[in-house]
């Protein structure tokens, strides 16, 4: 097996305030291979978005803080870089797109300005070449009238186009890794299909690895090579996508898959997971899913299970397997 492009080990990101300590990300391990699409899936509060911001080292200050762990990109531990060195990595080797293309674009700068500034920063191009490259990139991601749109402002575009602009901006330096945080959640189904297709094209044309963060298992099934399931700040299952959908192992993954209604057939009853996610400021000592788990034993709530490899490249955090 080849050396991973990105390797996260025991990453912990906490939010610390006067009287609480929220364990948003609580010791996760993730590997991303070159050109691979890894989906991180989880419900709100599972820590998936904080994981992505931790990789970029953009955890909201002053309360958010990366406590420990390492994030190694191509042999370099990002957490050991100075803030200045880190800016060389962002937008250049790793770039990121966000959920709300409307708010993620600066309303007072033109589209052209916002794309070219990435090139001016990382490629030392002159303005004219940068603009030409920006137009080329916009055409590449399927933006019509690209040479006019560079002079327009974000509010003049539709949601789907804005997300294409975001992708063009993120891909313009041909990064090794693209992090997409719920890139289609704010979009309609038909537009979502367009954007997902575009991301696949980016992967095949540039060889870019993608970390796709989503709560939508449909998107995961459609896109992922590898899936990481997160629950309450931890990875509970990590497997090849085919394995995960064919044979989910962790009770949470199983339950989740059974909770989703289908487009293809009529179901009588949905499975529903009782209760809610535990409070991230006061996690239980044992397995964090124990309270809602249909097969939990008494021992589950006493001892925290470790993430174990139960078959090749299939990791599960459950002691009952």
């Amino acid at each position: 097996m080849s050396e991973p492009l990105l390797s996260i080990r025991d990453l912990k990101t906490y939010f610390i305030s006067k009287d609480t300590e929220v364990h948003a990300v609580d010791g996760i391990d993730i590997d991303v291979l070159k050109g691979q699409i890894v989906c991180i899936v989880g419900e709100s509060g599972s820590g998936k978005s904080m994981t992505s911001l931790s990789i970029m080292r953009l955890v909201p200050k002053p309360r958010g803080k990366i406590i420990s762990g390492e994030i190694v990109l191509d042999g370099i531990n990002l957490l050991e870089l100075s803030e200045n060195q880190m800016t060389e990595v962002r937008g250049n080797e790793i770039s990121m797109i966000f959920q709300e293309p409307m708010t993620a674009l600066n309303p007072v700068l033109t589209i052209g300005d916002q794309i070219t500034e990435v090139l001016l920063r990382h490629r030392k191009m002159n303005r004219k070449d940068a603009l030409a490259r920006a137009i080329e990139m916009l055409k590449f991601v399927g933006v019509p009238r690209a040479d006019q749109i560079v002079r327009e402002y974000p509010h003049q575009l539709s949601g789907g186009l804005r997300q294409r602009v975001m992708i063009a901006m993120a891909m313009v330096c041909e990064p090794k890794l693209l992090i997409a945080d719920e890139p289609t959640t704010a979009l309609d189904v038909t537009i979502q299909a367009q954007v997902l297709d575009l991301m696949r094209k980016m992967r095949s044309d540039f060889g870019t690895a993608i970390i796709l963060i989503t709560h939508d298992l449909g998107v995961v099934a459609d896109m992922a090579d590898h899936v990481v399931v997160m629950y309450a700040g931890q990875v509970v299952e990590s497997a090849n996508a085919d394995d995960l959908f064919e044979e989910p192992k962790h009770p949470y993954t199983k339950a989740l898959l059974q909770s989703i209604p289908s487009i293809e057939k009529d179901l009588d009853v949905l499975y529903s997971i009782p209760g809610t996610v535990p409070d991230a400021a006061a996690f239980p000592v044992g397995c964090r899913f124990a309270e809602r788990c249909p097969v939990a034993q008494e021992s589950c709530s006493q001892r925290m299970p470790t993430l174990r490899e139960i078959s090749t490249n299939h990791f599960v955090r459950c002691d009952l397997l």
């Binding site: 709560h215 939508d216 099934a221 909770s259 989703i260 289908s262 487009i263 949905l270 529903s272």
Partner: protein, 321 residues
């Protein structure tokens, strides 16, 4: 008249676009442009469509919180389109609404008892002890504890708040409940809890639902019949199995093709629509979908197709049939 619980005929809502100091009307946003359908007692009608298709506006017109521009609404055989004052208040006890945002739909300054009992109090239907009894019963019905009634909304999770919202809708024993994106803001595991609850309640109280959502799978799960809206028009309406298994309208086909099922299927051929939904302020002539339709013919550009029965109980507005 018929024995439909609710019947909507040629319902329209045009929002004026004003300009200038004098607020001259310079055009109209045709949010809903001639929609007809019915709901039978004990039946759930799903309405799907992308953002801006007019599904929420339709729901609000039925609830009579938004006045319709044209068309008529019959409830239990009575024309309620223009009812107001006391008569409207009397009939409105029979239809209620569940909202999308569990955080914005409960007044943060009211206790749960006040929230749930508000319909009783304003309609002076019960008093004192009886109100408390009723609220306690309702809380148990939706799976909460009766002693939760003394608490405030901020002490509940999203899923619990949605249960409270449902309890409020049930307070007056309605016959019809309009649920507008009622589970869209919830996590998958909570979504299935609420869907199951709604199905249970429907049987328990013989309710009818109008279930408005952009999520095709959820709509399939809960509905008996499903209507598909596009740009203010109902383009197809049919019993759900027929609609999902044999969609007729090219838009429905595209929608279903773009929707993602949490299953691995390898590379599959998807029908991806080009472009965006046109602006409802300036809708295309003829069939509203012809600008994006892969099968559009000359007639589609000029002539608006009407909703007609093509298969038993299966109506579609398309020139191809």
């Amino acid at each position: 008249m018929t024995d439909h619980l609710l019947e909507v005929k040629e319902l329209k809502k045009y929002f004026p676009i004003t300009a200038g100091v004098m607020k001259r009307t310079v055009g109209h946003v045709k949010a809903v442009d001639g929609v007809s359908f019915f709901v039978d007692p004990g039946e759930t009608l799903g309405i799907v469509g992308e953002s801006g298709c007019g599904k929420s506006t339709t729901g609000r017109m039925i609830m009579r919180v938004l006045d319709s521009t044209a068309g008529s609404i019959y409830f239990d055989g009575e024309n309620i389109t223009r009812l107001h004052g006391r008569k409207l208040r009397r009939i409105r006890t029979k239809f209620q609404m569940v909202f999308q945002d569990p955080y914005a739909s409960l007044n943060p300054k009211m206790t749960i008892r006040e929230v749930i009992s508000e319909p009783l109090v304003v309609n002076k239907m019960l008093s004192g002890r009886q109100v408390v009894d009723r609220v306690a019963t309702l809380l148990e019905t939706v799976g909460l504890r009766p002693d939760d009634m003394m608490r405030y909304p901020h002490e509940f999770s999203g899923g619990q708040r949605q249960r409270i919202g449902i309890a409020r809708a049930l307070t007056l024993n309605p016959k019809l409940v309009v649920a507008d994106e009622a589970v869209s803001a919830l996590d998958v595991s909570i979504q299935s809890q609420i869907l199951n609850l709604m199905v249970d309640l429907k049987h328990q109280f013989n309710l009818s639902y109008i279930f408005i959502s952009h999520n095709l799978a959820v709509v399939r799960h809960i509905s008996d019949r499903v209507g598909v809206m596009y740009l203010g028009h109902m383009v197809e309406i049919s019993p759900k199995t027929d609609l999902y298994d044999n969609p007729l309208h090219p838009y429905t086909q595209a929608l279903l093709s773009a929707a993602l099922e949490p299953k691995r299927k390898g590379q599959r051929q998807r029908m991806i629509l080009r472009g965006d939904v046109p602006s409802p302020a300036n809708p295309p002539a003829g069939c509203p979908f012809h600008t994006r339709c892969p099968q559009a013919i000359e007639q589609c550009r000029t002539q608006r197709p009407v909703l007609q029965q093509v298969r038993p109980a299966h109506f579609v507005a398309c020139h191809l049939y």
